[in-house]
């Protein structure tokens, strides 16, 4: 009975493989669709912010109180993590599990470091009375960075969950799929960093 079941599911899996109508694996295709909807979320917020920013030149003074040095540090972490995730993806492509896992660990550490920078920035801003209620700029700041931080956190959880399997050389395809997601999250941050910290 159990034997039959296993055979059947192997059969179904083989069939599914044959059925794939595009060369793109389903996991990656699903990720692309997910990122498509994420893209509208993050560009949506970006457009709202830009339109408001143009309508309110006076936000420049509020925007000046961002902690640029910390922002640059965090951005550097994500920039470095983009490098490490690409190395992890490359290793996964050659099914070098141990190497992929090492690069994944590096990515997770950098991601955590980014969130720590974020936390310091939040603590400082809130301590200085720069709450969402203080100024609309800070409301947008917390909205956009907060939304982004949830995505970073989600990515970290997913990467960490994948680690043990990846170290054993399993689920190598998922490393590639998650890498796609992680790079998306990083790119969103570069745009947001530019908008919130640099362009005044």
């Amino acid at each position: 009975m159990n034997e039959g079941k296993r055979k059947m599911s192997a059969h179904a899996a083989a069939l599914a493989e044959r059925q794939a109508s595009t060369r793109v694996p389903s996991g990656r295709l699903g990720m692309w669709w997910f990122l498509g909807s994420e893209l509208t979320l993050f560009t949506g917020m970006m457009l709202i912010y830009v339109v408001n920013r143009i309508r309110h030149p006076d936000w420049a003074s509020a925007a000046e109180s961002t902690w640029i040095a910390l922002g640059i540090t965090g951005t550097g972490m994500l920039l470095a993590s983009m490098f490490t995730i690409v190395r992890a993806q490359a290793a996964a492509k050659d099914t070098r599990g141990a190497s992929a896992a090492r690069w994944l660990v590096a990515t997770v550490v950098l991601g955590v470091a980014f969130l720590v920078c974020q936390a310091f920035e939040y603590a400082r801003a809130l301590g200085a009375g720069l709450e969402p209620s203080a100024h609309l700029f800070w409301a947008y700041y917390f909205l956009m960075t907060g939304m982004h931080a949830t995505r970073v956190l989600g990515g970290l959880v997913a990467l960490t969950t994948l680690l043990p399997a990846a170290a054993r050389g399993n689920h190598m395809r998922r490393v590639g799929t998650l890498g796609l997601y992680w790079r998306f999250v990083c790119i969103v941050w570069f745009v947001y960093f530019t908008l919130l910290y640099v362009v005044r």
Binding site: G4, K5, R6, K7, M8, S9, H11, A12, A13, L15, A16, R18, Q19, A20, S21, T22, V24, S26, L29, G30, W33, F34, G36, S37, E38, L39, T40, L41, F42, T43, G44, M45, I48, H56, E131, P132, S133, L136, A139, Y140, F142, L143, G146, M147
Partner: protein, 561 residues
């Protein structure tokens, strides 16, 4: 395809990975919520016919409670009836079966999608039992009504509303990713995109529309939450914000959402019509392209909901144009469906009646939409019962009538038994007649200027003298419409156990789901499906039989069952 080996047993079977079981779970939840949503409408109609009486079941409906009824009726009907039934149930059930797949591409994600949806349902229903009751700021949740508790007197109810809607969106998002990936990657050998049954195309376009429109509203929900709990002023002019921003975010999602709901309904109608008229679908390619065009246009019409919001007329004009323009692809689709009937050998099964009823009713909704889409005319019509009648004439056919068409048509495939046809006819005629009895008076009330969303119909009696009987007729229609669903519910339950066994293909329909047994086993097909021709080969010239199935089975595996 990691399922199959890990199918749970016993009571755990409710956590099924099987797309058919998940579809039935969606259907059941959706039907229960339809009863709840319909019930709320009875309260509204009672109040509008006999204001401020002590009603049985409802008691006295003062304005605050009336607002809650309006809000929750709209919210439930759109997000907890239309979405789970048209997308969750029919999308899940039909997509893998119609493309010859064994299951969805991500069965676990599919299961997670349903359970997230069920959680959202409980959160929403819980809001009925908290202090001050459920949200009362309208299903559109415009600030400041939704942002400042003082306006509606509802606080926790609004929070629960936001959480429930957010969970529901996450659930549909997971479903959409599944629908798209499955249709693109798991089609049977030989099935090109242009061989997909129309309803699958519709589900596909719907999913894309939903996924690309919902993002900004999720940001909007976060902003609303911050406004409510962190004192920010995104939507508060006093703090430099703008309440119109919410309307843009809401309708940028909300208008595509109308088509997210409409398209699967039209798809169901197309499947039923071709099988019922024994004719190939008229202009398949043209319909597919017009659906894609209407999908693209649907992102450019949102501001027609805001013509009287103080919008810059220079901004309104282009939206009036796109709104009128979008009726063109929909006219193409409807005319193609009507042309499909032309000279067919029509059999009026209950499903067929509902399908034809959908088209007849939707035409009225579509044409009255043109009157509202013209920004000048809308200034008069806006916020009158004309709008209420209009969108019920679009949503009732695409959600309720098309849903019934789909249920009568695929019930045999879902449960292996036929529904009782005679009672199906009775159900259709009662529903159809009482629907029009309910909403034709509302067009007339709207033309006379009767405002919507106002608890007291006599408040403007000076202007509307003599119109109250129309409210009365509409209310009687609504009561009867609700009662007319009883034969359906009895028929549904009775047929589950006592219906005539259906056999694999009771309608002699062409599409691939009818190759499977009724109901199909967990792996759907006893072999590999190969698509050999288009989806609608009815009455093909030169063929002996009046239908040719789209697919055939190869390599029947001995291990199955």
């Amino acid at each position: 395809m990691q399922h199959g080996a890990s199918q749970p047993r016993g009571l755990w079977r409710v956590f099924s990975l099987d797309h058919k079981t998940i579809a039935k779970q969606y259907l059941l939840t959706g039907l229960v919520m339809a009863i709840v949503g319909g019930w709320l409408a009875q309260g509204m109609r009672a109040q509008l016919a006999w204001p401020y009486r002590d009603f049985p079941f409802f008691g006295l409906i003062e304005p605050g409670r009336y607002n809650a009824l309006v809000t929750m009726h709209g919210t439930i009907m759109l997000f907890w009836v239309a979405m789970p039934i048209l997308l969750g149930a029919f999308g899940n059930f039909l997509i893998p079966l119609m493309i010859g797949a064994r299951d969805m591409a991500f069965p676990r994600l599919n299961m997670l999608s349903f359970w997230t949806f069920l959680l959202s349902t409980f959160v929403l229903l819980a809001s009925f039992f908290v202090e001050a009751g459920p949200a009362a700021g309208g299903w559109t949740a415009y600030p400041p009504l939704s942002a400042v508790p003082g306006y509606t007197g509802v606080d926790l109810g609004t929070d629960l509303w936001i959480v429930a809607v957010a969970l529901e969106f996450i659930s549909v998002l997971m479903g959409g990713i599944n629908f798209l990936t499955t249709t693109i990657n798991l089609r049977a050998r030989g099935m090109r995109m242009m061989d997909l049954p129309l309803v699958v195309w519709m589900q596909l376009v719907s999913s894309v529309l939903f996924m690309l429109s919902v993002g900004p509203l999720i940001a909007g929900a976060a902003m609303l939450f911050l406004d409510r709990h962190a004192g920010s002023g995104f939507f508060d002019p006093a703090k430099g914000g703008d309440p119109l921003l919410w309307q843009h975010l809401f309708w940028f999602f909300g208008h595509p959402e109308v088509y997210v709901i409409l398209l699967p309904g039209l798809g169901i109608v197309a499947e039923v019509l071709t099988a019922g008229a024994r004719k190939t679908l008229f202009g398949y390619t043209m319909i597919v392209w017009s659906v894609i065009v209407s999908g693209l246009l649907s992102f450019l019409v949102w501001s027609h909901h805001q013509f009287v919001s103080g919008l810059d007329p220079r901004f309104a004009m282009p939206f009036a144009l796109t709104t009128i323009l979008i009726s063109v692809p929909f006219a193409v689709q409807l005319f193609a469906l009507i042309a499909t009937l032309w000279r067919g050998s029509i059999r009026y099964s209950p499903a067929m009646l509902f399908a034809v009823g959908t088209i007849a009713t939707f035409l009225v909704g579509g044409t009255t939409g043109i009157a509202l889409g013209a920004s000048a005319a809308d200034i008069y019509f806006h916020d009158t019962y004309f709008v209420v009648a209009h969108f019920h004439y679009t949503l009732f056919p695409s959600v309720i009538l098309a849903m019934h068409a789909g249920i009568y048509h695929w019930f045999p495939k879902m449960f292996g038994r036929l529904m009782h046809a005679k009672w199906g006819h009775v159900h259709f005629w009662l529903t159809f007649v009482f629907f029009h009895l309910t909403f034709i008076p509302q067009f007339l009330l709207g033309l006379a200027g009767h405002p919507r969303r106002v608890a007291d119909p006599l408040q403007f009696d000076l202007l509307l003298s003599g119109m109250q009987p129309y409210n009365l007729v509409s209310t009687i229609g609504a009561f009867c419409l609700f009662a007319a669903q009883v034969p359906f519910l009895i028929n549904f339950c009775w047929s589950l156990w006592r219906g005539k066994p259906a056999g694999a293909n009771p309608w002699r329909a062409t599409t691939i789901e009818w190759l499977a047994t009724s109901p199909p086993p967990h792996d759907n097909f006893p072999g590999e499906v190969v698509a050999v021709r288009g989806p609608y080969e009815y009455s093909t010239p030169g063929s002996e039989s009046d239908w040719l199935p789209q697919g055939k089975l190869e390599n029947a595996d001995s291990v199955a069952s």
